[in-house]
Subunit: 279 residues, 4 copies
């Protein structure tokens, strides 16, 4: 059969990224060892993008190979005879980026995976257990060198300092979503749980899955005692990330779903500790 993709292209236009987008795939995650517990494992679902650069002279890339590389890293479960389901693990991600580069003969490859990550969290007073869900995105680039950026986003509570200051009682508060994208200098390792802790520390109060009445009293008063503008949230988060030597670059934002408006308050900042201009 003719291989149309391998033909020579006369237009002289190189392509930055070409590949597959919105591939839905199972993922298996190690969970952080904490409080004396051994590390565990959890299953989740990732939405994956995989791209390569394409030189000006090549007509097309071979799309099915992206999926084949995924399946190889997911283990013998895909099409094999084991009952165990195939699934990726995040440890594979940089290797997948390199493997794509090689298999598709590309100068550069990008691998992105976004997924839900669960953490068991105890209510602040009654210690009732609950499961919190966070959105996580890993982005790996391979082009000879390797680059790795992790994004974690957490829901939290923000309580408005201005509303508290000017009102006789009460203060408007709301759910917000705080995100940190961080670039980690290899061979450093940062757990998702550690970034979540930074995000939740930067808000007026954490949110929880299960809150009994003593807990609800606690978080209501905690938020009132700790009012924060959207500006305060990103600044306090910036100070925490600035102080962590494993993180060489970060881009952070908070979006507050204002309870008194139908639009959102938003703040964002990006810093490169390596002295290079931010990107």
């Amino acid at each position: 059969m003719p291989d149309v993709q391998s033909l020579r292209d006369p237009r002289n236009v190189a392509i930055d990224r070409v590949g597959v987008k919105d591939v839905v795939y199972p993922l298996r995650l190690r969970t952080s060892p904490c409080g004396g517990r051994p590390p565990g494992e959890q299953g989740t679902v990732a939405t994956i993008n995989m791209y390569v650069s394409l030189p000006h002279h090549q007509k097309g890339t071979h799309m099915s190979r992206f999926l084949e590389v995924l399946n190889e890293f997911a283990g013998e479960g895909v099409g094999g005879d084991r009952p165990a389901p195939p699934a990726l693990t995040p440890e594979c991600f940089p290797k997948i980026a390199s493997a794509i580069c090689e298999r598709l003969n590309a100068a550069e490859a990008h691998f992105e995976a976004e997924f839900t990550y669960f953490i068991t969290k105890l209510a602040p007073v009654t210690k009732s257990p609950g499961l919190m869900d966070y959105r996580v995105r890993f982005t790996c680039t391979s082009n000879g060198a390797e680059d790795f950026v992790m994004s974690v986003s957490a829901p939290a509570t923000s309580l408005c300092p201005c509303s508290k200051e000017i009102s006789r009682y009460g203060a408007h508060n709301q759910r917000c979503r705080i995100e940190a994208r961080v670039r980690i200098t290899p061979p450093e390792l940062v757990w998702i749980e550690e970034i979540v802790a930074y995000l939740e520390k930067a808000a007026s109060s954490q949110v929880y899955a299960v809150l009994k009445r003593p807990d609800e009293k606690f978080v209501t008063e905690a938020a009132f005692d700790n009012p924060k503008f959207v500006e305060d949230i990103v600044r306090d988060l910036a100070l925490l990330l600035e102080a962590d030597p494993r993180i060489s670059w970060y881009s952070i934002n908070s979006e507050n779903f204002e309870s008194i408006h139908n639009h959102n308050a938003y703040a964002q900042l990006t810093r490169d500790k390596r002295g290079e201009p931010a990107r």
Copy 2:
């Protein structure tokens, strides 16, 4: 050219609804006369679905005719030589449903349009003007008789009575989204503005586009003075709709984007005043 759709179908399966979905189309709306102002007009964008029932013996419907009916009602602007842009008006909707029925030779036709509606609203203290956006959906069915359901959804503030009661100070509050779907007995007429007024009255506080500091103080204290569970919101809204004789049926809900959780609180109820079982 052969007309495949008009062939006889041997499978003996009638289809409840077949047609076009997610047609994006401009819409022109009359705005309510209020405060002595003459009625005005505003332009918006609708997402439209149009369906007919198909008898068991007919192979297919003629999809392009749905769009042709739309264009006829939108006026000479479509393809004409006037600079004025084509646009539907809601007054056409029941006529479009009948016209589809006739043009496609169907026993029943459905027309649905969802769009944003803007209302100028003054801040509660400073009277600073702002524009609020509401989501509206009109659903018309034509099958000999006519049926018409209007849905309006408004953002608002809810403040938790339990949190207020048990805490020394503060109370968690959040944005919520309240929706009323109402069936209006012809020839009655209910303005979108009237449903919005019911929705906003049912919440702890209204939300606004522009709030200066005296306004922010006002809405913060108003919400604190008027705590409501999601259950209270739908109950108070039910009482308001129950008392309006133009409305013969309603289905209402509120979704509260809890500031202390990553999930939402939700309540829903449906009532048919005509003594028939709810649907």
Copy 3:
């Protein structure tokens, strides 16, 4: 602490459904034994809604109990000292609905879970393995009796019979999404895999994750040999479900993302085999 929710409500308005919406939670699924393989297990992520009816005299429901019931069924992993992650299994769903009813003292309870389900599928010619993702939703109602509805939705290819008939060559085709909601009479059991097989059989061609060139040739020709309107897809699916005695009711639809338009073609039908009027 005062229990505001247990107060008596004077408004005399019963609420059909009140509870928690959009709870994100891990789920563990048994996979169908097939081809001699023992049944396996896969991890996924569910979005869950849980509601109860609330009598007119009670002010509010106790929202945290919904989450506590979930955690109990998810096993000792939540807050326990085992490394194994907590996760629900679909076998629990009817039991969760009953447990909610009882714990919240309600006449009726609803449990809904939507999640991604993966099936390993071989390419039609080269037998290259790939992982397909399907959207599944389970809905359980408990009110003395039990009701259970399963929804499965699959992507597929549709190729237009009219376009094929009238054109000298080619025919427009596109991705479509076909959904079947089925009510299963206990104690019957229907696997997700079986519904997927019905859905994929109803389309012009199945879709695959990995297709090598001989496979791409095969599916291109298969779709061209099997043209279907959106009406044909729901009719052929209806015949398949009608013939399965385990299914007592079904509601099916197909949405075709037309390659020649910016809107979609859509067809839907609902049948109740038990001789009752459709709902």
Copy 4:
């Protein structure tokens, strides 16, 4: 009342962007004069973001002023006594960016608006008129200098060259979405209609709102005669934009919703004609 936002901030962290996000607002657009028609006007709905940079020493920005600036540019309709509805026009956008800068005393301001734009388009053979909807986004930055980027995205048809080549008959095709973001050197002016023409020329075939049978035959055969990979689409679009001297920078992509897969094919490239490194 105290002005908390104006306090001095001790943390020494400047913020890149702070402001309001997802403000929904009416917009009025001039339509291109074409075919001898005078220019017209159409109403649409924009989703708007407005941000300023915040120096390290200032605690917070004044969020309500963003909305006040919007209202001033929307005209006397907001809160005035004219029935005419307030609405922005795109001509205001750069002025809004400057006005925000000044009103909020900021070194830099960003204004973004995304909206639907309609164009009347005739079917290729029968000349039946139809309305096409396109997504448009305008981004203005003001920081002493002015920067302006326009993004236009159009649906179209792509037909796979490999599938056509290797199959005895037929070829898989699908809807795709092609986007061009372009930076225009002032005082140049580029109409939305011109970018749409580039986008639609780059695909295998255009899509239409209304197609009668002779039109459907035409577009089916046209796509078959003009097969394109996702790589071909971005390359051909790049050549068109490269040749337009009014455009100094562009970033383009195409996403093809493959009819034979449940994932998408994607290609993207960015070029800066001014000889600076791409961003």
